[in-house]
Amino acid sequence: MDTFAEIKKILVELLDLEDREISPETYLIQELGAESIDLLELAVTINSRFKITVKDDEVFLTRFRLYLTEAEQQGKDIAPYVAKKYPFLTHERIAEIIAHIDEGPQLKIKDLISYIAYRLRGI
């Protein structure tokens, strides 16, 4: 199964994106305008389509900023601390998110792809 193609199909349907160009690098919230209710429905659809458990806070990186704050308050190295919370993200991706965190919500389609692959491995 081509995960990106499946996710694209789901997003086109959910967000009414008929002629929109989207790629794994597309931001869900910043570019596609996904709101909380859209993300909830996306989580439910991913669960149904891929037959995996979906934890909304995890897949949508909802607590990313909170974890940055926690790491700072506890005097821990930020990147490894956050990496433990999001084991489906690569270190490069975590560094990328941290570098651009002040530009707005960093959730991209490629993060969903990573999460689904991680869950499909049975972890």
Binding site: I37, A43, V44, S48
Partner: protein, 247 residues
């Protein structure tokens, strides 16, 4: 009036109480398929005995409020097909606030608020898959006008009302709606014991001078589940003969 329904599979939480059983009968007669939850063998027997004429037209499933494994199991069984949920489940804890046992309070709120929120989450997500569903919470006028000792019961009911109300606000645009029913004095279950113990004087305070019947409640819930009530969302309705409308 012939009621029509968008769906037929209805989960009835707290399915062993008199009201739930009256509703189940009415549902079956309207071609709905209720799945009634029970938490012990005595409750299961009560369901089977009461619904004996309707064998094969309903299902039962174990659910113990506070037991998260039983909740997971229930929703695994339900799968992706759930059209309605009616929630009668309510534990009882009577105590003055200032003399309540702390452990009992923690357990009571875990079972009656946190667990209910989890059940609501699962039901909502299931219904969202088809962008269609209706949830009815059976509250009580005791939530607004509790007697001394009913503070925890009232708190649990009011918190649960808020959860159901918000679910309707949040998911209404995706076809999942909610409504809260607040019955007053009912001549059934705990209500019946209370009313007969007080010698009927309590009903003097009710403008219609009588208790609401089980069948009236069942028919009202059936209406609230029907297509005719689709515009009622994220709100509560009192069914108390006018009790809470006056001084």
């Amino acid at each position: 009036m012939n009621l029509t329904f968008s769906g037929n599979r209805a989960l009835v939480l707290g399915g062993t109480c008199e009201l739930a059983l009256a509703l189940a009968g009415a549902m079956i007669e309207s071609s709905l398929f209720p799945i009634l939850t029970y938490r012990d063998d005595r409750g299961l027997s009560r369901i089977r005995k009461t619904l004996q004429p309707f064998e094969g037209r309903y299902e039962t499933y174990y659910l113990n409020f506070g037991d998260r494994d039983s909740l997971d199991s229930l929703f695994s069984y339900i799968g992706d097909h759930l059209d309605f949920m009616v929630d009668f489940a309510q534990g009882n804890y009577e105590s003055l606030i200032a003399s309540a046992d702390e452990d009992s309070v923690y357990r009571y709120f875990t079972e009656n608020i946190s667990f209910r929120a989890e059940a609501l989450k699962m039901a909502g997500r299931t219904m969202l898959k088809k962008r269609k569903g209706r949830l009815v919470f059976i509250s009580s006028t005791a939530a607004q006008r509790p007697n001394p000792g009913q503070g925890f019961y009232a708190a649990a009911k009011l918190a649960s009302e808020a959860l159901y109300q918000n679910m309707g606000l949040e998911l209404g645009e995706r076809g999942v709606t909610t409504v809260i029913l607040r019955p007053g004095y009912i001549d059934a279950g705990r209500g019946s014991i209370y009313l007969h113990g007080k010698g009927g004087k309590t009903l003097e305070t009710v403008p219609i001078k009588r208790a609401i019947t089980r069948d009236e409640i069942a028919q009202t819930i059936l209406f609230l589940l029907s297509d005719s009530a689709a515009g009622i969302n994220a709100t509560g309705i009192s069914m108390d003969g006018g009790l809470t409308s006056g001084k």
